[in-house]
């Protein structure tokens, strides 16, 4: 037995950037999160070469999950070509040697900031959402210890009260993104700042969704085939953004979630938020052989 | 025939702890009362007439003795009965008529009078009709019926009080100077009502400042003036 046999070759970096103990921590907490859907699991969030608040939580999960054969897609507000999406994607490719893709249908792992792609995800795909504030009760109970107790007691009265008062004050629920949702009939979670349009995609989905907050150091998850129900009153139905009739001015895609681009004359033009879907639509129109995946929304309406 | 009321060796004293004094109100009182009998309590002021009535009603706790009452549910010793039973009996079988009306704010005279009937299960419109009948019988002016008795004069309040207290026929009626502040016609109405109730079997024990008012009803009398030294003048404990 020699020192050489007991030690490993020096490497400048572990596979996937994070060291083994970091990955073990994230794996364990992910498993816990999957075991208790919607419940926030605290984890020891590691330093990564990115500032807190820019997706470090999502990055840690992706680094943990990656293997050299996985195809990686990274989007930011739906766009693969946004600066942040590009740098994260490049980083992940470099530390894992895994291939990258922009095609939702080809990706095994999709890390996303604030959007879920329009094409339906499959059972073999994992969606990693970046979460700035994982605590849905924060606005009604800023004290985290008390909020944790409220989750433990399933005491969500204040959350409902907030929605009630929004309706009283403004005639409708004012909650835009991050719509508080009941997971598996037990825990209320924030689905991250995805628009209301995207929340129904999480309900009874084929795919696994991991939501990770690096700065707040919490992970929660929605396993496949799990109920995700936005908190709504029986007589005030859940309403998504009214994008069903909008048309993308660049691709002509209609009935998908749009980015609004204000024009000089005060009007707005729209661009489909899922940029790859826009690209595919253009290429299909040009005659290329493009596989357009099945979408959650058809003709501007959500259909299962 | 079982007596409605069988009082045995009833005694009452007051212990005023802060004065270290004990005062006997009455002692060793025994009597029976049958249905439809009217018993008058006599005695000079301070002899304990009012005290006896209140002891029978359980507003005062007896010191010794028994108060056996034949209720619809069986015989019970009122001196030792549980609060809940007394409450039940007061609502349905034993009435206490005083010269003071307990008016509740914002409850109309007619609602107050109808209440004992409603609590006994009568429909509210029927109860209200009967209440109005009695308010009229006691001479309460019609436009006062929906008004709040807290604003009435003493005499008017007393009429409402009587109407309410006498509306539901009781097994036993205790009357503590009910004629004070009543005008002649109201007094007459009271006597008529008492006569009716007596005829239908209500047993009555009364203290009257002017027993002449009810002379026609009296069957028996008890004089509570103690033999020997007269009792000191006592003020009734505040209501």
């Amino acid at each position: 037995m020699s020192l050489k046999s007991l030690t490993r070759e020096w490497e400048p970096m572990s596979y996937g950037f994070l060291d083994a103990s970091a990955k073990r921590e994230v794996r364990r907490k992910m498993l816990k999160a999957i075991a208790v859907p919607g419940c926030q699991m605290p984890y020891a969030s590691r330093e990564v070469p990115m500032a807190r608040g820019w997706g470090t939580g999502g990055l840690q999960v992706s680094c943990t999950l990656l293997n050299p054969r996985m195809s990686i897609k990274v989007i930011d507000q739906g766009a693969d070509d946004s600066v942040n999406a590009v740098s994260i994607r490049k980083f992940l490719a470099r530390v894992s040697g895994a291939p990258v893709t922009m095609n939702t249908l080809e990706a095994d792992l999709i890390q996303s900031r604030h959007r879920i792609p329009e094409e339906v995800l499959r059972a073999d795909q994992v969606l990693v959402l970046q979460v700035p504030n994982p605590e849905p009760l924060r606005s009604v109970q800023p004290n985290l210890s008390i909020a944790r107790q409220m989750h433990a007691d399933a005491d969500y009265g204040r959350m409902w009260l907030q929605l009630y008062e929004q309706i009283v004050r403004s005639g409708r629920v004012m909650q835009g993104a991050s719509y508080p949702s009941l997971v598996n009939g037990r825990f209320v979670m924030t689905p991250s700042p995805i628009p209301r349009w995207d929340v129904p995609k999480l309900n009874m989905a084929n795919h696994l969704t991991i939501l990770s907050a690096g700065r707040e150091k919490r992970i929660h998850a929605v396993p496949p085939f799990t109920r995700v129900e936005p908190l709504v009153f029986d007589d005030v139905p859940y309403r998504v953004e009214e994008h069903g009739a909008l048309v993308c001015h660049r691709s002509g895609a209609k009935g998908f979630f749009m980015n609004e681009i204000p024009q000089d004359d005060g009007s707005s033009s729209y661009e489909v938020s899922d940029s790859e879907w826009g690209v595919k639509t253009i290429r299909l129109a040009e005659g290329a052989r493009v596989e357009m995946g099945k979408t959650w929304y058809r003709n501007g309406e959500f259909s299962q | 025939m079982t007596h409605v009321l069988d009082v045995r060796a009833l005694s009452k004293s007051f212990t005023m702890h802060h004065l270290g004094r004990r005062m006997q109100a009455f002692s060793d009182i025994s009597f029976t009362l049958d249905a439809g009998e009217f018993l008058l309590l006599r005695g000079q002021n301070g002899a304990g007439k009012s005290t006896l009535l209140r002891t029978l009603y359980r507003s005062y706790l007896a010191g010794a003795g028994q108060i056996l009452f034949q209720s619809r549910h069986g015989q019970i010793d009122l001196a030792r009965a549980a609060d809940v039973d007394i409450t039940h009996l007061r609502r349905s079988e034993i009435g206490f008529v005083t010269q003071f009306l307990i008016a509740r704010p914002r409850v109309s005279a007619e609602a107050l009078v109808a209440e004992p009937l409603r609590l006994a299960g009568k429909a509210s419109d029927e109860a209200l009709d009967e209440a109005r009948h009695w308010l009229s019988a006691f001479g309460v002016k019609r436009d006062l019926w929906p008004a709040y008795p807290t604003t009435f004069s003493g005499g008017e309040q007393q009429k409402v009080n009587l109407a309410r207290a006498l509306i539901l026929p009781q097994c036993l009626l205790l009357l503590d100077e009910p004629t004070a502040s009543l005008d002649v016609s109201a007094r007459a109405a009271l006597v008529r009502r008492l006569a009716d109730l007596k005829a239908s079997g209500t047993a009555m024990i009364g203290v009257f400042h002017h027993p002449g008012d009810v002379a026609s009803l009296i069957d028996r009398e008890i004089d509570l003036t103690p033999k020997g030294e007269p009792q000191e003048e006592r003020e009734d404990v505040a209501f």
Binding site: D153, F233 | A82
Partner: protein, 265 residues
């Protein structure tokens, strides 16, 4: 001659609430010593005593906020069994949410001051599982109206309201689910005397209409006298006297009770 809790009975009404031998100490201080009480359906039990008598502690035990060291507490309700002091956290919350209403002396304890008044009432209904907005609104309105709260201010937050109005919101919140038991801890203490009278008046009216069983705690004899059917006098953690309200006030037996009663003209 004293009356025991187990006097021979005539009628078969069972008490709604039975608490027996409740004792609690905080370190060296014995806050409650073998306190027993019953409340029958539809009646008002008044608990009177000075500060430090343990009356508020007892009420908190009845609301399951405090667990005594010993004692039992049962409610005679269809799906409620056993000693309620043995309930776990979840059981307590559910029972209190649905069957017991409470009004505190300090509205800050009982209300969410910065949410709307109707919202405060609605929260109660939401915790109990109500999910229809229209029903929430209607029931909140109904409860506030029954508490004689001016409906045009039903969405104002309690922080903007006067003391009397705040107590009315507490009351509305407490009765919204039509509880079997209503607990009131010094509900009018601290209010202007004229406002006190109005609030008590509302309570009396509500009690007469709905026949809710109430336990009301106060150091103010006048309040207890106005409201109660039966009275319990507490001193230094013990019950010194209990009985029918008129009897305790007209013929107090215990020296302390006599002192209390005669202190008022």
């Amino acid at each position: 001659m004293t009356l025991s809790l187990d006097a021979p009975r005539l009628v078969t009404t069972q008490p709604l609430l039975t608490a027996r031998d409740v004792s609690k100490s905080y370190g060296a201080v014995q806050a409650l010593r073998n306190v027993s009480a019953t409340a029958y359906p539809g009646e008002v039990l008044g608990i009177v005593g000075e500060s430090g008598s343990g009356k508020s502690t007892f009420l908190r035990c009845l609301n399951l906020e405090e667990t005594p060291d010993t004692g039992s507490y049962t409610l005679d309700l269809p799906d409620v069994q056993g000693n309620l002091f043995d309930l776990d956290r979840f059981g307590r919350r559910m029972l209190c949410a649905k069957r017991i209403g409470i009004v505190y002396q300090n509205p800050h304890l009982g209300l969410l001051m910065t949410h709307s008044s109707s919202g405060n009432v609605a929260e109660r209904l939401l915790i109990a599982g109500e999910r229809s907005f229209a029903t929430l609104r209607a029931k909140a309105r109904g409860a506030l109206e029954a508490s004689e709260f001016p409906l045009e201010r039903m969405d104002a937050p309690p922080i903007e309201l006067s003391g009397g109005m705040q107590q009315r919101v507490q009351l509305a919140k407490a009765i919204a689910l039509e509880p079997a038991l209503l607990l009131l801890d010094e509900p009018t203490t601290g209010l202007d005397v004229s406002v006190q009278a109005l609030v008590l008046d509302t309570l009396k009216r509500l009690q007469a209409e709905r026949r809710i069983t109430m336990v009301i705690v106060s150091h103010d004899l006048g309040v207890i006298r106005t409201m109660s059917d039966r009275v319990m006098v507490m001193r230094r953690g013990e019950v010194v006297e209990a009985g029918l309200a008129d009897q305790v006030f007209q013929d107090p037996q215990h020296a302390y009770t006599q002192q209390l009663v005669h202190a008022k003209l």
